[in-house]
Symmetry: C2
Subunit: 343 residues, 2 copies
C-alpha cells in the first residue's frame, strides 16, 4: 500500500495508523475470511458497495443506541457468525460505532483483536484514538467500558464526502478543545480559517486531521490510563456529558457549551482572562457551535456529580490557564455546585 503509516507503542500493543488510505486497502490489513465488520445503518446505507463480500453487523445509529442492548445484539451476531479468538473485528463509523465495537470485541471470549475505520471528523480526531471504549448507562455517558487499544486505525477521508454538515460542526468542537488545552497555534489557525475552507480543501483538511490525531495520540501515549495529563482531554466534558444525553445534544454541541462553562469557571477561580474567554466563544460561534444553553441546574447537577472524574465529594475539573494550556483542579462539590449555578 502506498499510504502513510505510523506506529505507536502503547502499554499492551503497538497501534498502526494508516493515514490517507482507502477503505479497499482494509483487505490487505485483515483477512476477509476471519474478519467481521461492525457499522451503523447510516454508513451502511450510504456506502453499501464497500461492504460487499465482508461479514457485517449493522447497528442502529446515534448516541441513544449506545447502550448495553446494542452490545447484547452484537454478541448474539458474533455467536451466529461463529466468531472465535482468531476473528478480527473492525468498527466502521463515528464515535458511537468505534466505542461499541471496541467494547464488544474486548469482552467477547475475553477479547478479540479489533481495528477502526473512523468515518466522521469527530471519530477521526478523537473518539477512535486512545482505546477508551464502552457504552452509556441510561443518561450517564460512557459509564461502562474499558481501556484497550485497537490494532490499527485506517483513515479514509473519502467517507467525509457524504458527512452531513451538522456532523462536520460536531467534530470541530473536539478540534477546538485540542487547541484550547494544548495548541495555541492551532487556535490561531482556526481563527484565521473557516469551516467551509476545510470542507473545500482536502490538503488543508488532511493536515488539520493529522495535527489533531497527533495531539490526542501524544497525550494518550504519555498517560494511557489517565492518571495525569490525559485528564486534560476532558476539558468541557464534565458539564458537557451531563447535558448531552439529558437534552439529546450532539456530543460536539454539548462539549462546546461545556467548554464555555469551564472557561467561565476558569475566569472565576483560575485567573483565565475575560478577553481569552471571549475569543473562545467567538471561535466556537464561528464554527457554528452553540455557546450557551438554559439548562435545569438542579437536574444537571444530579447527573454531573456522577461524572467519572469524581473522587468522593470533590471533582477533578479541567480549567484553562490560558488558550493552549490547561490544568486539573480538584473542586469541592459545594463550591462546584455554586459555580455551575452561575453558568
Amino acid at each position: 500500500m502506498g499510504i502513510k503509516k505510523a506506529e505507536y507503542v502503547f502499554s499492551e500493543k503497538t497501534v498502526t495508523y494508516y493515514f490517507d488510505a482507502t477503505f479497499s486497502s482494509l483487505a490487505e490489513i485483515v483477512s476477509k475470511d476471519h474478519t467481521i465488520l461492525i457499522t451503523d445503518e447510516n454508513v451502511f446505507n450510504n456506502q453499501q458497495e464497500k461492504f460487499n463480500g465482508w461479514k457485517t453487523i449493522v447497528i442502529r445509529p446515534g448516541e441513544e443506541f449506545k447502550q448495553q442492548a446494542a452490545v447484547d445484539e452484537i454478541l448474539q451476531q458474533l455467536i451466529k457468525y461463529e466468531a472465535d479468538r482468531k476473528t478480527f473485528v473492525v468498527g466502521i463509523g463515528g464515535g458511537v460505532v468505534t466505542d461499541i465495537t471496541g467494547y464488544a470485541a474486548s469482552i467477547y471470549m475475553r477479547g478479540l483483536r479489533f481495528g477502526f475505520v473512523p468515518t466522521t471528523i469527530l471519530a477521526m480526531v478523537d473518539a477512535s484514538i486512545g482505546g477508551k471504549n464502552g457504552v452509556d448507562a441510561g443518561i450517564y455517558k460512557n459509564l461502562v467500558g474499558l481501556i484497550k487499544q485497537p490494532d490499527f486505525l485506517l483513515f479514509d477521508y473519502s467517507f467525509l464526502e457524504t458527512l452531513p454538515r451538522e456532523q462536520w460542526i460536531n467534530g470541530f468542537a473536539e478540534i477546538i478543545k485540542h487547541a484550547c488545552i494544548k495548541d495555541e497555534y492551532l487556535f490561531q489557525l482556526l481563527e484565521n480559517e473557516t469551516l467551509e475552507n476545510f470542507i473545500g480543501d482536502k490538503n488543508k483538511l488532511g493536515e488539520l486531521i493529522e495535527r489533531n490525531v497527533q495531539i490526542k495520540t501524544n497525550v494518550v501515549l504519555k498517560d494511557e490510563f489517565e492518571n495525569g495529563d490525559r485528564k486534560l482531554l476532558n476539558f468541557g466534558h464534565t458539564l458537557g456529558h451531563a447535558i448531552e444525553n439529558n437534552y439529546q445534544l450532539l456530543h460536539g454541541h454539548a462539549i462546546s457549551i461545556g467548554m464555555v462553562g469551564a472557561s467561565i469557571i476558569s475566569e472565576k477561580i483560575n485567573n483565565f482572562s475575560a478577553e481569552q474567554k471571549a475569543r473562545l466563544v467567538r471561535l466556537l460561534e464561528k464554527y457554528h457551535l452553540p455557546s450557551h444553553l438554559d439548562f435545569d441546574h438542579e437536574k444537571i447537577w444530579e447527573i454531573l456529580k456522577m461524572d467519572k472524574k469524581r473522587v468522593g465529594n470533590e471533582m477533578n475539573f479541567i480549567l484553562l490557564n490560558k488558550i493552549g494550556e490547561a490544568i486539573v483542579m480538584s473542586i469541592p462539590f459545594t463550591e462546584l455546585k455554586s459555580l455551575i449555578n452561575q453558568i
Copy 2:
C-alpha cells in the same frame, strides 16, 4: 492480623492472599466507607450478621442468573450508591458471585478495584483465582468477560460450615482436575481419603485447599493470558461447559463427566492407559461425582463447537498423557465430532 499472608505478582498487579482469615478482618483490608460488597441471597440469608454496616448488593443465586441482566442490575445499584473510582468492590460468594463481581467492577467507570471472599470449595480452589471473570451468554458458558486480577483473596473457612453437601461434591471436581493435570501425589492422597474425612478435619481441609490454591496460582502466574500452560486448566471443560447449562448441571458435575469424556479421547488418540482411566472414574465416583451422562450428541456438538478454545475448524482440546500430566492437542472438528459421538 495474625493470618497467613502471601503475595503474588501478576502482570498488572500484586494479588494478596489471606489464608485462614476471618471475615471480620475485611474491615482492616478495605474501608467500610468506600467499599461495596456483592453477594447472593444464599450467602446473605445464611450470614446476615456479617454484612451489618456494609453497603451490600445482593444478587440472585445460581448459574442461571450468571447473565448480563445481573451485571446490569449491579451497575444500576453502583450508580445508586454513587460509587466512584475510589470505591472498592468485594465479591463474597461462590464462583458465580466472584465471576460477576470481578466483571462488573472491571467495567464500571472503566474499572474499580476489587477483591474476593470465596465461600465455597469450588470458589476457593478455582473460580476466585486467576482473574478470569464474566458471565454466560444464554447457554454459552463464560462467553463474555475479561481477565483482570483482584487486589486480594480472603479465605475464611468458616463459610464452609453452612455449605450444602452438594456444593462440597461440586468443589471436589476441580480438585480432582488439578490432580489429573499437575499432581499425581494429590491424586493418590484423594484415593486414600474420603470426602467425609476432609469435611470433618479442618487441618486436613486447610492443607488441601492451600495445595490446590497453589497449583492454580502457579499455572496462572506462568501464563496469565492463556497462551500455553493455563489451557491445561480447561481439562474436562470443553465437553463440560457444553453440557452444563443445557442440562442445568452443577459445574463440578458437568466437569466430572467432561473429564471422563476427555480421558476416553485420551485413551483413543493419546495412549492414555485404560487402567488409569478406570482409576479416574473410580476416584470421581468415590467423591460422589457423576461419570456419565446420556447427552444429545447433535445438540451438544452445536454448543461445544463454539467453545473459546476453538480456532477456525480445530479445537484446542486438553488430553492426559498420564495421571498428573496433561497436554493440549489441536483436533480437527470432523475428528473431534466423531470422538465425541463415541462418548
